[in-house]
Subunit: 267 residues, 2 copies
Amino acid sequence: MSTRVETPQDLSPRELRARIRRGEWRKPTAGVAAGYAQANLVVLPRDAAYDFLVFCQRNPKPCTLLEVTDPGNPEPAVTAPGADLRVDVPKYRVHRRGRPVTEEDDIRSYWRDDLVAFLLGCSFTFEGAMQRAGIPVRHIDCGRNVPMYVTSTPCRPAGAFHGPMVVSMRPLPALHVPRAVLITGRYTRAHGAPVHIGDPAAIGIKDLSRPDYGEPPVIEPGEVPVFWACGVTPQAVAVAAGVEFMITHAPGHMFVTDLLDEDLAGG
Amino acid sequence: MSTRVETPQDLSPRELRARIRRGEWRKPTAGVAAGYAQANLVVLPRDAAYDFLVFCQRNPKPCTLLEVTDPGNPEPAVTAPGADLRVDVPKYRVHRRGRPVTEEDDIRSYWRDDLVAFLLGCSFTFEGAMQRAGIPVRHIDCGRNVPMYVTSTPCRPAGAFHGPMVVSMRPLPALHVPRAVLITGRYTRAHGAPVHIGDPAAIGIKDLSRPDYGEPPVIEPGEVPVFWACGVTPQAVAVAAGVEFMITHAPGHMFVTDLLDEDLAGG
């Protein structure tokens, strides 16, 4: 009888979060707890949270909300009952006046009764669906973080929040592009279909080899760059708007929810 | 050369809103300005608006937000630039402590600098798509308002807002049910797929012939009742929660936006 070795891909969201909480997992979360939806995290004081809610409503492609916690309560009771958003993310970024000032493993010392946590859909959801459909996802195959770019496309502003949309890019053989649109378009709560296909300059990206977040892409001859709205947008908006105080996940180090990837498909 | 008679169906949203503003249209808006998305209206003071935003985030099937205006500004700049939400809806309901107290044609005398208007997706969007697909929509064919029911399904609460989900019901021959699910499921910003198919008692509806809003249904032998989340839910929630002050559209008398029905299809 063979003994099956448990891989991070096999972990349940609850077990993965327990490992993170015990300090046993500080790495990016791409590919772990396969089939479960991961989420971008944004934490803001209640007095900034209204404008951020309206910002998300006005910019649903980069900022689809999966959950908004009650002020002061770090438990995401809808998407991961029993979890604690102060300790269950592998790495956090603390931003002051729009700038990331430190990275932390644990944000309990920053927590306040007026903080509201927002969880936003993440492209890891549709990447799994692309792979299951036989569409290769280059940055995963290369073991890299996805390249992300600040565009010239402004988000719709809301109160203090304004700034550019951030996109992630996946190079695809032209043959795969229409199917990739259909497959990712199903996941309306995880950025959905691409926002742009082709010429990077059309959305203000000067040099694909120099992403603003993540790692440079590997693009094969004849491949088409395909761009999806990205959940890192609030971090670019925090910079543009000089947001006083905000905590986010560190890029790639997401919160793993109990939702299934399929829960993020519209309908 | 024949002279074409303009019907309400042919009107542009702008022209229809102009007629409403001039007092020339006080009727329900079903079927007018065909192809353009209509919306449920909720107006609340800014100090209740945060909880309502979170309520909508937590209950996206009945309450998908198409737009949230800036406090005091009655112009829905995203979905109908130039419109005025105080005069461009054919009939309003004013609610105090959760109860509808009066109906008005014009809410300028109620308007305040702290009021926020919310526009929510409406099932008229997917009814057009059903009809174009050859699926008859009974209440339209009978010239009635759609029957709506308060269910035993609680909404997820948010702050002061709590209460039951309201559903609309359309009877369908069993043959049409799967296709109706697929067609309406495309319109993720207009309630999407049904929330229940079949036995009304399973969602706490005792008597289909006695709807809580709208008009009684006409159900033919062998037809299946199909239930969709309904944008009247905030009005039931206002009752349950005793909301201090709220203005809504009168059921069936919607705001007609410049968005295309197709803009409410996810992706």
